[in-house]
């Protein structure tokens, strides 16, 4: 199971040792197994890749900077980094760039944050810019909003996303609203971030998927990071945005390793990421489920399917442009999410696609989500509340019949 965490997005022809992959069948594949990285950076793993190529094509440049095409960055050197460190790097770069950026939350200062995202920042920027707060989520979220209204750009860290339920009043009634109700006089450029999602036996209260509760709030933007590359890029973009942004991280993805570019880059908050282009079916996913999908994709490719995998990244608003183009191409949609069935991101995405691309669908949209239950503690039970690769494979097979 541990390998799930360090599983790569999928380098060109390399394999995971714990995958029952039939190597011989690779030669019979219709299309090359290409994993697209927007910057084309090589993904370093411990495994020696088998097969000719380890580089891969890059499609649409998701980065906002034009001309930052993957081809050019592929040749430049990058540095290997873990996801939590990529977040920290993005944070540090923005704090260097703009003196108004500050961090507040529990244990973010000298402790460095529960997931080490703010490690080393307090000694560098001082206790005032990296502020340890008492334990009152609604209070420090409100504090961040008040500071934002008077000129600062705070990043509010929830130790676990579930705790931010205590801050719902401030987030919904004030964060999302005050720019509007003040007639545009006050802006709230806050970033609210923290780890969420189902972890390893963290218990129901620490396994919340808050994106389903927050998605309705007008005035906020929501993004979910899934790789070190997009984590850093989204962090920077969220800080620079004048809108309040909620950045969803995942407890199990903090130790993902990847090589990211040395030079500065900022991603677009509203764009999705093409993980693997394909022809047969569009699989929409985000955060940790991306890795389950990619694992399933290997099996699917082996069985002769060509799934197109898109990491939607932007949970509010949806990137209906990329999603729409994909639906128009494949005509079949599978959504794989970690949210509960009722009222999750998948539910909204299903509605949005049905509304906008009804004519292009050859089959009803299938949405795989967690059941409508609190996450149980026992390891096996917990595993079965989360969508697993075999279910994804079965769903695609069913969809493509």
């Amino acid at each position: 199971m541990a390998s799930l965490i360090i599983q790569r997005i999928g380098a060109a022809t390399s394999f995971d040792t714990n995958n029952n992959f039939d190597r011989r069948s690779l030669s019979g594949r219709k299309s090359g197994f290409l994993v697209v990285r927007s910057d084309g950076a090589k993904i370093t793993t411990g495994l020696k890749p088998i097969g000719s190529r380890t580089h891969h094509l890059v499609t649409n440049a998701v980065a906002t900077k034009p001309g930052n095409s993957a081809a050019s960055t592929a040749s430049k050197s990058g540095h290997e980094i873990l996801l939590f460190d990529a977040l920290r790097e993005g944070l540090e770069e923005e704090m260097d760039r703009d003196a108004r950026v500050c961090v507040m939350g529990e244990d973010v200062g000298h402790y460095g944050g529960s997931y080490k995202v703010t490690k080393g920042l307090a000694p560098k920027y001082g206790d005032l810019r990296v502020l340890d707060t008492p334990i009152a989520e609604n209070a420090f979220t409100g504090m961040g909003i008040g500071a934002a209204m008077t000129g600062l750009r705070p990043i509010i860290e929830g130790m676990n996303m579930g705790f931010l339920l205590l801050a719902f009043n401030q987030i919904s009634n004030n964060c999302g609203m005050l720019h509007y109700t003040s007639g545009g006089q006050f802006k709230i450029p806050v970033v609210i971030r923290g780890p969420g999602g189902v972890g390893r036996q963290l218990g129901a209260e620490h396994s919340q998927r808050l994106e389903s509760y927050f998605q309705s709030i007008p005035g906020i933007q929501m993004v979910a990071c899934s790789t070190p590359y997009n984590a850093k890029g989204l962090m920077k973009a969220a800080i620079r945005s004048d809108n309040p942004v909620i950045l969803f991280e995942h407890v199990l993805l903090y130790n993902l390793k990847e090589t990211i570019p040395d030079e500065e880059y900022v991603l677009n908050l509203e764009e999705a990421e093409m993980v693997r282009p394909g022809q047969h079916v569009t699989i929409l996913t985000y955060s940790r489920m991306r890795y389950h999908v990619m694992q399933a994709a290997k099996t699917l490719v082996n069985k002769g399917y060509d799934p197109e995998v898109i990491d939607i990244r932007s949970l509010k608003p949806f990137d209906l442009h990329m999603i729409g183009n994909s639906v128009k191409k494949t005509h079949r949609v599978l959504i794989v999410e970690e949210c509960m069935r009722t009222g999750g991101i998948g539910a909204s995405l299903t509605a949005a696609i049905n509304e906008n691309f009804q004519d292009y669908l050859d089959a009803p949209i299938v949405c795989l989500s967690s059941q409508d239950v609190p996450t149980p503690y026992a390891g096996t039970l917990e595993e079965w509340t989360v969508v697993q690769p075999p279910q994804i494979v079965a769903a695609v097979e069913q969809l493509c019949k």
């Binding site: 005032l128 502020l131 707060t133 008492p134 934002a148 109700t181 003040s182 007639g183």
Partner: protein, 475 residues
């Protein structure tokens, strides 16, 4: 200068007797409580609480405890073996099992400058105000009353949907804001329009906000009396209670970072002090050491809940001590007392970068809002008493006229004039076009996103297609 020093010293003296944040003083006051209990010494109290009968550890028969506890004298702090080395400082042990009382015997005293007839108390230390300030405060209070009267009537006539009056609290409104500088950031609750008035928000702007027309500074989005103006350093009011309190800490934190010579002032009511955000905010402010003045308008009522059902303690002033915040109680119907207290509090807050809590005792003469009829839950003569005998405007009027800065003639002229101005503002606001449909969608985000653009287009098309169903729709 000397009078001002007297105020500071006086304030400090008072705050020392009222509360103290130093550990030593806290301990002293504890022993005061203890001796107070000793004097009481009734048989009703349990054995360990009555005078002279201290609870001995031998009752437990625990020899271990016996060894640790010696005859600990309350003045003997220097004996290091009798202290517990605990995070935050040494804690002296005691062999007495004594519970701190839940409340003090006496209520916290209330600072006032003028008596009910508007005469300055002989021994009060206060700073004299200049004529301009006094007249501006008084005319602000009268304007506030006039606006309340006219707009309340307008609501009753169905011309606007909702309003909240500030009757009875004019002194808290004007006395406090007069003591601030224009750089001080204010986060009101919803019953402090005097703050905006003082800082130059026009009558017409107020009324435009009530009507939600196209000139409304809030673009027709917030309910009446929930305004804000960044030009006047007043942050837009949000309806849920106490949300402004943690935000005030954030704003003060921002001032602290910029090292500005300004503070944050935030208002809230007695009912609001029950909200979790109130407690968290005070705690945060004390821990962060930010320049913030909390002003509580304890007006006795939270809609229909009287303070006796809101908390079980002597008001809000004693709560500051729980968080390490210097606090003072003032007569909220005495403009000069409020002015002086806020003035002093502001100085301390900025110079020492710490929060201050002011509880202004006043009374909500009007209803909670136009959706409320307070005669249903409180006696009419109680309302009448505060409306007449303790009316802040008439008390101050007596003082200002006696000072030779106001007269009966000016009073009647001013009242007639201001009433005319408010009515005129209402007439203008009524005729002004309502806020445009585009205001529904703009400012949700920094830039109008695609989905909202589509929704706006859809709505505008619908309005155009069915003009009879959407009369007077301002496109």
């Amino acid at each position: 200068m000397t009078i001002w020093l007297a105020v500071t010293r006086g304030a400090n003296y008072r705050t020392k007797t009222l509360i103290s944040t130093a550990f030593r003083s806290l301990r002293t006051s504890l022993t005061t409580f203890a001796s107070g209990d000793a004097r009481e010494g009734t048989s009703r109290k349990p054995a360990y609480m009555s005078s002279g009968t201290y609870y001995r550890s031998s009752h437990f028969g625990a020899s271990e405890a016996r060894q640790q506890v010696n005859h600990f004298s309350s003045d003997d702090e220097e004996d290091k073996s009798q202290v517990l080395d605990f995070p935050g400082g040494p804690v002296p042990y005691t062999d007495e099992m004594r519970f701190l009382p839940g409340s003090s015997e006496k209520r916290v005293q209330c600072y006032r400058v003028l008596d009910d007839e508007g005469y300055p108390l002989s021994s009060t230390q206060f700073q004299h105000v200049r004529k301009e300030v006094a007249v501006k405060m008084y005319s602000g209070m009268v304007t506030l009353q006039a606006m309340d009267t006219v707009i309340y009537e307008a609501q009753r006539q169905g011309r606007i949907s909702f309003y909240m009056t500030s009757y009875g609290e004019e002194a808290v409104n004007l006395g406090s804001v007069a003591a601030l500088s224009d750089d001080d950031i204010v986060l009101p609750q919803y019953r402090e329009p005097g703050v905006m008035l003082w800082r130059g928000f026009e009558l017409q702007q107020f009324v435009d906000q009530f009507f939600g027309n196209k000139n409304d500074i809030g673009k027709g989005r917030q309910m009446p009396t929930h305004y804000g103006s960044n030009k006047h350093n007043v942050l837009t009011i949000s309806a849920p209670l106490a949300t402004q309190l943690p935000q005030a800490v954030g704003a003060a934190y921002s001032l602290k970072m910029d090292k500005k010579d300004a503070c944050v002032v935030t208002y809230f009511g007695d009912g609001c002090s029950s909200e979790g955000d109130f407690h968290a905010s005070l705690n945060f402010a004390a821990v962060m050491e930010v320049p913030i003045v909390y002003i509580c308008r304890n007006n006795g009522w939270a809609i229909s809940t009287p303070v006796t059902e809101q908390f079980r303690i002597d008001g809000i002033v004693v709560k500051g001590q729980a968080y390490g915040i210097q606090s003072i109680r003032v007569d909220g119907n005495d403009v000069l007392a409020v002015y002086n207290a806020v003035r002093a509090a502001r100085e301390i807050a900025i110079k020492e970068q710490r929060p201050i809590l002011i509880e202004a005792l006043t009374y909500r003469v009007g209803h909670h809002s136009t959706s409320d009829d307070s005669t249903k839950y409180r006696p009419v003569d109680e309302i009448e008493h505060w409306k007449t005998a303790r009316n802040p405007v008439s008390i101050f009027r007596k003082w200002i006229q006696r000072s030779g800065w106001w007269s009966d003639k000016e009073e009647s002229e001013f009242r007639a004039n201001i009433r005319k101005q408010v009515i005129h503002a209402v007439q203008v606001a009524e005729k002004t076009e309502k806020a445009p449909i585009g205001n529904i969608f703009s400012d949700v985000y920094e830039k109008l996103p695609k989905n909202l653009m589509e929704q706006e287009k859809l709505l505008k098309e619908t309005v155009k297609r069915y003009p009879r169903d959407f009369p007077n729709a301002p496109l």
